[in-house]
Amino acid sequence: MLGIILYSGAVALIVIGIAGLVRSTHLFRAVLALVIAESGANLLLMLAGFRLGGAVPIATEGSFPLAMVDPVPQAMVLTAIVIGVGIQALAIALLVRVKQRYGTLERSKVTAAMELELNK
C-alpha cells in the first residue's frame, strides 16, 4: 500500500510538472514546473531501488545488513539532481536576458515578439 502511495506521488509530481510546463503563462513559472517534474522523475528513480524496511547500504566489519536499499539509484539520482540544478540555473540566466530584451516574461508577449524577430 505504501509503495502504491509513493509511486502515485512520484507520477503525480511528473504530471503536475508537465501540466505546469504546458499551461503556465509566465516563463518563470514554467521553470518552477520543470523543477517539480524533475523531482517526480527523481523520486520515481529512487523508488526503483527502495526496499521497505531496508537498511542503509553500508557494510561495516562484522555487520552486513540482510535487507538493504539499492544504492545504485541513489547515486544516479544524485547525478540527475546535479544536472537538473545546472539546467535550472542556465534557464534562469536565459530568462534574465529575455527580461532585459523584452521587458516581460509573459509567455504570449515574449512568443509574439520572438516570432516577429524570426520572420524579419
Binding site: 520543470l34 524533475e38 527523481n42 526503483a48 547525478t79 524570426l118 520572420n119
Partner: protein, 492 residues
C-alpha cells in the same frame, strides 16, 4: 586497445576545460590566437586518429565489436562502452562533420561548447548503459543550449530558453522510462537487459519505450516534440544548423534504434515508431511546402524539410530487420550529406553554379536516378512492400506523396532563386564566411556525386553494418564475457 575508447570522451572534455586557461595565456598574442583557433580542431583530429587505432587495433582491418568495462567493475554495476560498426560509423560522422563545420570565428566559447558536443555525442554513441546515455544526452543538450544562446540573433536567448524547456521535458520523460526499466530489472546495462528479454525473464512495458522514445526523440526531431527545430535553425548560423540537423539529430536516432532493438523487440514498439515517423514525415514535408509557397525563409523551409526527412528515417528503422536497418542507416547518411550541403547553400544568394549544386542536392533528396537518394528510396519502398501490412501500405502511399511534396517545394525554392540578381552573374557573392560556406557546399556535393560511382561497395558496407547491429547475441557475448552470468545471477 579497448581502454583507449574512453579517450574519445575524455580528450574533448579536457580540451574544453583547457580552452579558458589557454585563452588567458595565449590570447594576447597573434600566434597564440592562431593556436587557440585551431586547438579544438586539433583535439578532434587526435580523437579521430584514436578511433582508427582502437577500431583496427593498429592493424588496418576492423576488429569489431569491442567492449570496455571501466574500472574493472562487472556488469551490471560499472560503466560500459561498446564499439561496433554502427557506433563507429557515427563516431566517424561526428568527428569528420565537426572538422568540416568547425567555425572560423575567434570566439573561443563556441569552440569550447563544440568540444563538449563532441565528447557528449561520442559518449552517447558509445554508451552501453541507459544512465550514461541519459548523462551524455543532458551534456549534449546543455552544450547546444549554449551554442543557440550565443548566436548573433536578437531572438537567440528566448529561442534557447524554449529549446531548453522542451529538451528538459524530454529528459524528465527519459528518466521516468529509465526508472521503470530499473525497477523491473535492477540493471541498466543494455546487454544485460537484452539478456533478460531474450531469456523471457521479463518484458519491459511499452510505456517505458514510449517515454524513452519521446524523451530522446526531442533531439531526433520526432513528431510532437520538434517545435524547437524551425526556431533554432532560424537563429543559429548555417554551420550550426548543418551540425544540429546533420549529426546531432542522428545520434539521438542511433540511441533510440539501439534501445528498441535490444530492449523492445516487439511489434508494438516498432509500430509506435512507424506511426510517429509517418506523422513526422507528412507533417514536416507539408509545412515545408506551405513555408516555401508563402515565400518563407529558406532556413525555415529546410528545418521543416529536415523534420520530414527524420520522419522517413524513423519509418525505415521501424522495420528492425536487416533491410530496415540498412535503409535507415543509408537514409540517415544521405540526409547528413544533403542537408548539410543545403544549409551551407542557404547562407547566401546563389549564382548559377551554386544553384546547380542546389538542384543536385534537391534531385537526390527527391530520389531521381542515378543519384544515391533514388537507390535508397527504392530499397525503402521494397522494404515497405515486402512487410505488406495495412499500416505499411499507408506508409508507402504517404511516402510517395511526401516525395511529390518535396519535389514541389524544392522547385519553388529553385524558381525563386532564379530571379535573384546574383543568379545572373557567375561571381561569388556574400562575405568571407558565406563564401567559405559555399565552398563547403561543394565538398558535400562532390561527396554526393562521388557516391554514384561507389553504390555497390557502399551498399555492401552498410549491409554489413546492419547485420552486425541486428545481432544482439554478438553484443551480449562481447559485453557479458568475463562478467556475471545473467541467468545464474552470480559471478562466473
Amino acid at each position: 586497445m579497448s581502454n583507449y575508447l574512453v579517450l574519445l570522451v575524455i580528450l574533448p572534455l579536457l580540451g574544453a576545460f583547457l580552452m579558458q586557461p589557454l585563452s588567458q595565456l595565449l590570447g594576447s598574442k597573434q600566434a597564440g590566437r592562431k593556436i587557440l583557433q585551431n586547438f579544438g580542431r586539433a583535439v578532434i583530429a587526435v580523437t579521430l586518429t584514436i578511433t582508427y587505432i582502437v577500431a583496427t587495433e593498429g592493424e588496418g582491418v576492423l576488429q569489431l565489436p569491442l567492449s570496455l568495462l571501466m574500472g574493472g567493475f562487472v556488469v551490471p554495476v560499472g560503466i560500459n562502452l561498446y564499439l561496433d560498426q554502427f557506433s563507429l560509423l557515427w563516431l566517424v560522422a561526428i568527428q569528420v562533420s565537426l572538422l568540416i563545420l568547425w567555425p572560423a570565428s575567434r570566439d573561443i566559447r563556441q569552440h569550447l561548447l563544440l568540444l563538449v558536443v563532441a565528447a557528449s555525442s561520442m559518449g552517447m554513441a558509445l554508451s552501453g548503459d541507459l544512465f550514461n546515455i541519459y548523462v551524455f544526452y543532458e551534456l549534449l543538450a546543455v552544450a547546444t543550449f549554449g551554442l543557440v544562446a550565443q548566436a548573433p540573433h536578437p531572438a537567440a536567448a528566448v529561442v534557447s530558453f524554449r529549446y531548453l524547456l522542451l529538451s528538459a521535458f524530454g529528459s524528465v520523460l527519459a528518466l521516468a522510462g529509465i526508472a521503470i526499466i530499473y525497477s523491473q530489472s535492477g540493471s541498466l546495462n543494455l546487454a544485460h537487459l537484452s539478456a533478460f528479454v531474450v531469456n523471457g525473464e521479463t518484458q519491459f512495458p511499452l510505456a517505458a519505450f514510449l517515454l524513452l522514445l519521446v524523451g530522446f526523440g526531442v533531439k531526433a526531431e520526432l513528431f510532437g516534440v520538434n517545435g524547437w527545430v524551425p526556431e533554432v535553425y532560424g537563429v543559429v548560423s548555417s554551420r550550426m544548423s548543418a551540425l544540429l540537423a546533420g549529426v546531432i539529430s542522428k545520434i539521438a536516432v542511433v540511441v533510440i534504434v539501439r534501445i528498441m532493438l535490444l530492449l523492445f523487440p516487439y511489434p508494438e514498439a516498432s509500430q509506435a515508431l512507424l506511426v510517429l515517423g509517418i506523422l513526422g514525415m507528412v507533417g514536416g514535408e507539408w509545412v515545408a511546402w506551405h513555408t516555401a509557397q508563402r515565400g518563407g525563409k529558406l532556413s525555415t523551409t529546410l528545418a521543416y524539410s529536415s523534420i520530414g526527412q527524420l520522419g522517413m528515417i524513423f519509418v525505415a528503422f521501424s522495420f528492425s530487420l536487416t533491410l530496415g536497418l540498412f535503409v535507415g542507416v543509408a537514409l540517415a547518411l544521405h540526409h547528413l550529406i544533403v542537408k548539410s550541403g543545403l544549409f551551407m547553400l542557404s547562407s547566401a544568394q546563389l549564382n548559377r553554379w551554386q544553384l546547380g549544386l542546389f538542384v543536385l542536392f534537391g534531385l537526390s533528396l527527391i530520389g531521381v536516378p542515378p543519384l544515391p537518394g533514388f537507390w535508397i528510396k527504392l530499397a525503402m519502398l521494397q522494404d515497405l512492400w515486402a512487410t505488406g501490412g495495412g499500416l505499411e501500405q499507408l506508409a508507402i502511399a504517404l511516402f510517395l506523396l511526401a516525395t511529390v511534396v518535396e519535389a514541389s517545394y524544392l522547385s519553388k525554392i529553385i524558381s525563386t532563386q532564379m530571379v535573384s540578381p546574383q543568379f545572373k552573374s557567375a561571381k561569388l557573392g556574400g562575405n568571407s564566411e558565406e563564401r567559405r560556406n559555399l565552398n563547403l557546399a561543394w565538398l558535400y556535393g562532390i561527396l554526393l556525386f562521388g557516391a554514384i560511382f561507389f553504390i555497390n561497395p557502399l551498399a555492401e558496407t552498410l549491409h554489413g553494418i546492419a547485420v552486425q547491429t541486428e545481432d544482439g547475441e554478438l553484443l551480449r557475448s562481447v559485453v557479458l564475457e568475463n562478467s556475471i552470468d545473467p541467468l545464474a545471477g552470480g559471478e562466473q
